[in-house]
C-alpha cells in the first residue's frame, strides 16, 4: 500500500440531513496526497456542511470516510485532528485575550509538572511555525492586538502543529491582502510538496485555476462532477456549478422609468466610502456590485438612517432630506432588507405574522390594541404574493427554511409600501429555487414602479435583475454600466480597482 496511489482522504456517498433539508445527498470526494483539490459550489450548495462532516463537527447519516485506506469515524474535531484532518475555519475561531502561541496550541498546551504550561517549548514551537509561515509577529503577542490577516495566519498555524494528512482551507483569502495571499499560496505549495492533501474552498476562480489540480463541484447538496484543472475552463466549471451556462436572459420588454426617486450626491463617510453619487428612478433596479467590504452595505445603512454621513446630500423625490434614524427612513418610504437575515432581519423566536408586521405594528391598531385582523390580512396577502411556505402564521420564523425566512423579510418591507426598496444580498444562503423566485419578484416590483437597489456579490444576480449596475471598489464608485453595455470582463475589472477609460 503505497501512499502514492491511495487517496489521503476519501468520502463515499455522504448523506447529511437536517430537519426539512437534505444538506448533503450522496457526495463523493477524494484528495490524493500532494494534491490541491478545489471544492466549488454556490452558497448553500453544501460545501460547509461537507467540511464540518470532514472535521468531525457533524456526523454523516450515511456514507463512509476513508483516511489512508482505513474507514474512520470522527465524532469530534480532536479525533479528526488526530487522524490528520485539519480544518481552517472561515470564521476565526481564536480566543482573543490569549497569545498567538496559546491559540496555536489551544487544547494541547505542552505541560510540565503540576499542570504547568511549558512556556519555553510552547514559544519555541510556535515561533518555528510562525517563521515557516513567514509571519512578522512573535508568538507572544495577544491575538486581539493582531490584524485580521495575521489572526488568519494564527488560524493556519494551528494546522501545522500536527503531521497533517489533509488540510482544509475554507475561503482563506477572504480577508487577506495580495501580498499575504502570495505567502499563503507558498505555504499551500509547501504543504503540497510534503505530500499533504489540500482541500481548497473558494469562490475566486482565478485562485482556483492557479492553485488547484482538480476541481469538484457541488450543487444543491449533490455531487456534480470532478474536473481536472488543466483540462477545463471557467465556463465548464460555471456550468456545473449553476446547472446551465450563465443565464442572463431576462424580461426584455423595455422598462419604463418614472421620475428620479432617490438621488445621492457626493456622499462620504471617512473610512467607509467616499464621493458617492448615484440616482434611482421609479421602475428601475440599480445593482450595486463589488467585493465584500467595498462599502455597499454601509451606503445602504446610511440611506436607512443607521449611519451618519460626513458629507453629501440625499434627495428623496427631489426633496433634500436628513435621515437620522430608521424611523425617519421608513417615514420617507425607504425600506431596507438587510444583509444578515438572522441577525438583522428577523426576531427568530417570534412568529411569522408578528415579524412581518413589526415595523408598522403601532399603526395597525383598533383602539389601543393591535388589530389581529389587519395583521392577518397583511400576512395573508404577502404569504400568497411571495408564495411563503409555512403551515401557519403562528410558526416561529426560526424553523423556516432560509428562502422562506428571506421572503418574510421581503414581505415585511413590501408591506410598508416603500418608494425606495433596498435589498442587500437578497439570495445569500438560500436554495436555487427560491433564488430565481426572488429575482423574478425584484423585476416585478420594478415593473410596478418601485425604485429598487440591489446589493449583491454574485455577478449572475446583478446581471439578471439590474437595469443599471454600479461597480464599487474600496469605498468608491468605479463605474456605472447600463445593462446593455456591461460585459463580465469590464465588471470584474471595475470591482478589482482597475480603471478603464470609459467609452465616450
Amino acid at each position: 500500500m503505497s501512499d502514492a496511489q491511495q487517496p489521503a482522504l476519501r468520502l463515499q456517498g455522504i448523506v447529511k440531513t437536517f430537519p426539512g433539508v437534505r444538506a448533503l445527498d450522496g457526495v463523493d470526494f477524494e484528495v490524493m496526497p500532494g494534491e490541491v483539490h478545489a471544492l466549488l459550489g454556490e452558497n448553500g450548495a453544501g460545501k460547509s456542511t461537507l467540511m464540518k462532516v470532514l472535521a468531525g463537527m457533524y456526523q454523516p447519516d450515511d456514507g463512509k470516510i476513508i483516511i489512508a485506506g482505513r474507514p474512520v469515524r470522527m465524532t469530534t474535531p480532536i479525533e479528526a485532528k488526530a487522524e490528520g484532518v485539519v480544518l481552517i475555519h472561515q470564521e476565526l475561531s481564536l480566543v482573543p485575550e490569549m497569545s498567538a502561541a496559546e491559540n496555536i496550541y489551544l487544547g494541547e498546551l505542552p505541560r510540565r509538572s503540576f499542570g504547568r504550561v511549558d512556556w519555553k517549548t510552547l514559544e519555541e514551537r510556535s515561533n518555528t511555525i510562525l517563521k515557516r509561515l513567514k509571519c512578522s509577529f512573535r508568538s507572544e503577542v495577544t491575538v486581539a492586538n493582531l490584524s485580521i490577516a495575521n489572526q488568519q495566519m494564527v488560524e493556519i498555524a494551528r494546522a501545522l502543529t500536527v503531521d497533517a494528512r489533509v488540510v482544509v482551507f475554507d475561503e482563506p483569502t477572504a480577508s487577506l491582502t495580495d501580498a499575504e495571499k502570495v505567502v499563503l499560496f507558498d505555504i499551500i505549495n509547501d504543504l503540497k510538496a510534503q505530500g499533504v492533501g489540500i482541500v481548497y474552498i473558494s469562490h475566486r476562480m482565478d485562485e482556483i485555476f492557479t492553485l488547484s489540480d482538480r476541481i469538484t463541484v457541488l450543487r444543491d447538496g449533490a455531487y456534480r462532477g470532478t474536473l481536472t484543472t488543466a483540462h477545463t475552463n471557467e465556463d465548464e466549471v460555471t456550468r456545473l456549478m449553476i446547472g446551465r451556462s450563465l443565464d442572463l436572459s431576462r424580461d426584455e420588454a423595455a422598462p419604463t422609468f418614472g421620475k428620479t426617486m432617490l438621488e445621492v450626491r457626493n456622499m462620504g463617510c471617512p473610512g467607509l466610502y467616499k464621493d458617492i453619487s448615484f440616482s434611482v428612478r421609479e421602475g428601475e433596479v440599480v445593482g450595486f456590485y463589488g467585493l465584500v467590504g467595498a462599502g455597499r452595505t454601509e451606503i445602504a445603512e446610511t440611506l436607512f438612517g443607521l449611519r451618519k454621513p460626513a458629507s453629501g446630500e440625499i434627495r428623496v423625490d427631489g426633496e433634500p432630506v436628513e435621515i437620522a434614524s430608521p424611523r425617519d427612513a421608513i417615514a420617507l418610504g425607504i425600506s431596507l432588507v438587510p444583509e444578515n437575515r438572522k441577525e438583522q432581519g428577523l426576531v427568530l423566536q417570534m412568529n411569522c405574522r408578528d415579524n412581518m408586521t413589526l415595523p408598522q405594528v403601532q399603526d395597525l391598531t383598533a383602539g389601543p390594541f393591535v388589530s389581529q385582523g389587519a395583521e392577518l390580512a397583511i400576512f395573508d396577502q404577502y404569504r400568497d404574493r411571495l408564495a411563503i411556505k409555512t403551515p401557519s402564521w403562528k410558526q416561529p420564523v426560526g424553523v423556516l427554511s432560509g428562502g422562506n425566512q428571506q421572503k418574510i423579510v421581503i414581505g415585511k418591507w413590501l408591506s410598508m409600501q416603500p418608494r425606495v426598496l433596498i435589498v442587500d444580498e437578497p439570495t445569500r444562503g438560500i436554495d436555487v429555487g427560491s433564488k430565481s423566485e426572488i429575482h423574478q419578484l425584484l423585476r416585478e416590483l420594478a415593473g410596478q414602479g418601485y425604485a429598487v437597489i440591489v446589493i449583491s456579490s454574485e455577478m449572475p444576480e446583478v446581471l439578471r435583475v439590474s437595469d443599471r449596475i454600479v461597480a464599487m471598489y474600496h469605498g468608491r464608485i468605479m463605474r456605472e454600466f447600463g445593462i446593455h453595455e456591461v460585459t463580465e470582463d469590464s465588471l470584474v475589472q471595475a470591482i478589482s480597482g482597475i480603471r478603464v477609460d470609459e467609452p465616450a
Binding site: T76, F304, L306, S325, P326, R327, A329, I330, L336, P338, E343, Q344, G345, L346, V347, L348, Q349, M350, D354, L358, P359, V361, Q362, L364, T365, P368, F369, V370, K412
Partner: protein, 322 residues
C-alpha cells in the same frame, strides 16, 4: 382561579402548570386545611407584594435585561411613603413616593436603555446605591406610622373590597392589565422584539432605547405599588425591608418560564411562578416544616423547571458539552 384558565392553551403547554397542579394535589392530600378558601386567600394575599414586583421584572426580562435593584428600591419606596405619611399626609406621600421611585427607574432606564450599559452590573450598583440612600434618608432608623387606626392608608394592605383583600385585587388587576399590554398592544410586541433581537428591532425602526427605558419605568412603578401595599400592611418599615426580594422575585420570574435571554415570557406564567412559590411555602408550613425548607424545595424546583425547558428546546436531556 378562573382568571388563570382564561390564558387557556398558551399555559397548558407549560410544564410549570403541571408542576403546579402536582404540588397542589400533593399538599392537599397531606393537609386538610391547604385547599380551604381561607388558606388560599391568605396565600394570595401574602404573594401580592412579590407578585406585583415580579410583573415589572418580567417585562424587564422579556426586554432582554435584568433588574436586581427592585429589592432596595422597595426599601426606598416603603421607607419614603411611611415616613412621609405622618409628615405630609398619605394623599401627598403616595404621589411623591411614586415619583421618586420612578426617578430611580428612569436612572436605570437611562443607564441601560440609552447608554447601553450591562443591566446586571448597573442594577447591582443601583441595589447598593439605593440601599445607601435609604439608610442616609432614614439615618439608619426604622420608620413607622403613629396613628395606625385612623388613616385611610390602611386600605391598601389591610382593607378588603367585596370580601377580597385589597392586595389580591391590586395584584390581580395589575397582572391582568400588564398581561393585556404585553400580549395585545404594540408596546408589548416591541418589548418582545427588542428582547428577542435588539439589532433586528432597530433594523425594523423600533426605538430600542425608548422601549428599554420604558420597561424600567414600569418595573419602578410596580415596586412603588408593592411598597404601598407593604407600607400599608405593616404601617411601618425597616430600612432594609426589601433586602433579598430581588432574588425571590427573579426566582418566580424564572420559574414562570421567562427566558433570561429575553424575547419570551408571560405575565400570567410569572403569576403562576409567584403562586407556586407561595403555595410551596404555605404547604410546607402547614405540614409542620420550618419555613426555610421552602428554600430547599425552591432550589430543586427552579433547576428542574429550567432544565426541562432548556432540554425541550435543544431536544435532548443532557447538555452536549463534554
Amino acid at each position: 382561579m378562573t382568571r388563570l384558565k382564561a390564558g387557556g392553551p398558551a399555559i397548558a403547554k407549560q410544564g410549570i402548570l403541571v408542576a403546579f397542579i402536582v404540588f397542589m394535589i400533593a399538599f392537599s392530600l397531606m393537609s386538610d386545611r391547604f385547599l380551604s378558601a381561607d388558606n388560599i386567600m391568605s396565600v394570595f394575599r401574602q404573594s401580592a407584594i412579590i407578585g406585583v414586583m415580579a410583573i415589572g421584572v418580567t417585562i424587564v426580562v422579556i426586554g432582554g435585561n435584568l433588574d436586581l435593584s427592585v429589592g432596595s428600591m422597595l426599601s426606598f419606596a416603603t421607607v419614603l411613603v411611611v415616613d412621609l405619611h405622618d409628615k405630609i399626609g398619605p394623599e401627598l406621600a403616595i404621589p411623591v413616593m411614586v415619583l421618586a421611585t420612578l426617578c430611580l427607574g428612569a436612572i436605570n432606564g437611562f443607564l441601560i436603555g440609552i447608554l447601553r450599559l450591562n443591566s446586571l452590573i448597573v442594577t447591582l450598583g443601583m441595589l447598593s446605591a439605593i440601599q445607601g440612600l435609604v439608610l442616609i434618608y432614614s439615618g439608619g432608623q426604622n420608620v413607622d406610622i403613629v396613628d395606625q387606626r385612623g388613616t385611610w392608608f390602611a386600605i391598601f394592605g389591610r382593607g378588603a373590597v367585596f370580601g377580597i383583600a385589597t392586595p389580591i385585587i391590586i395584584f390581580g388587576a395589575l397582572a391582568l392589565i400588564f398581561h393585556v399590554i404585553m400580549t395585545t398592544m404594540p408596546f408589548g410586541r416591541r418589548v418582545h422584539a427588542v428582547g428577542g433581537n435588539p439589532t433586528a428591532s432597530v433594523f425594523s425602526g423600533i426605538p430600542r432605547s425608548r422601549v428599554v427605558f420604558m420597561t424600567y419605568l414600569i418595573s419602578a412603578l410596580c415596586v412603588a405599588i408593592a411598597a404601598i401595599i407593604l407600607g400599608s400592611r405593616v404601617m411601618g418599615s425597616q430600612n432594609n425591608v426589601g433586602q433579598g426580594y430581588e432574588l425571590q422575585v427573579l426566582a418566580a420570574v424564572i420559574l414562570g418560564g421567562t427566558s433570561l435571554l429575553g424575547g419570551s415570557g408571560s405575565i400570567l406564567r410569572t403569576v403562576l411562578g409567584v403562586l407556586m412559590l407561595a403555595f410551596i411555602q404555605n404547604g410546607l408550613i402547614l405540614m409542620g416544616q420550618p419555613y426555610y425548607t421552602q428554600w430547599l424545595v425552591t432550589w430543586a424546583v427552579i433547576i428542574v423547571a429550567v432544565w426541562l425547558d432548556v432540554a425541550a428546546k435543544r431536544g435532548r436531556l443532557f447538555s452536549p458539552i463534554a
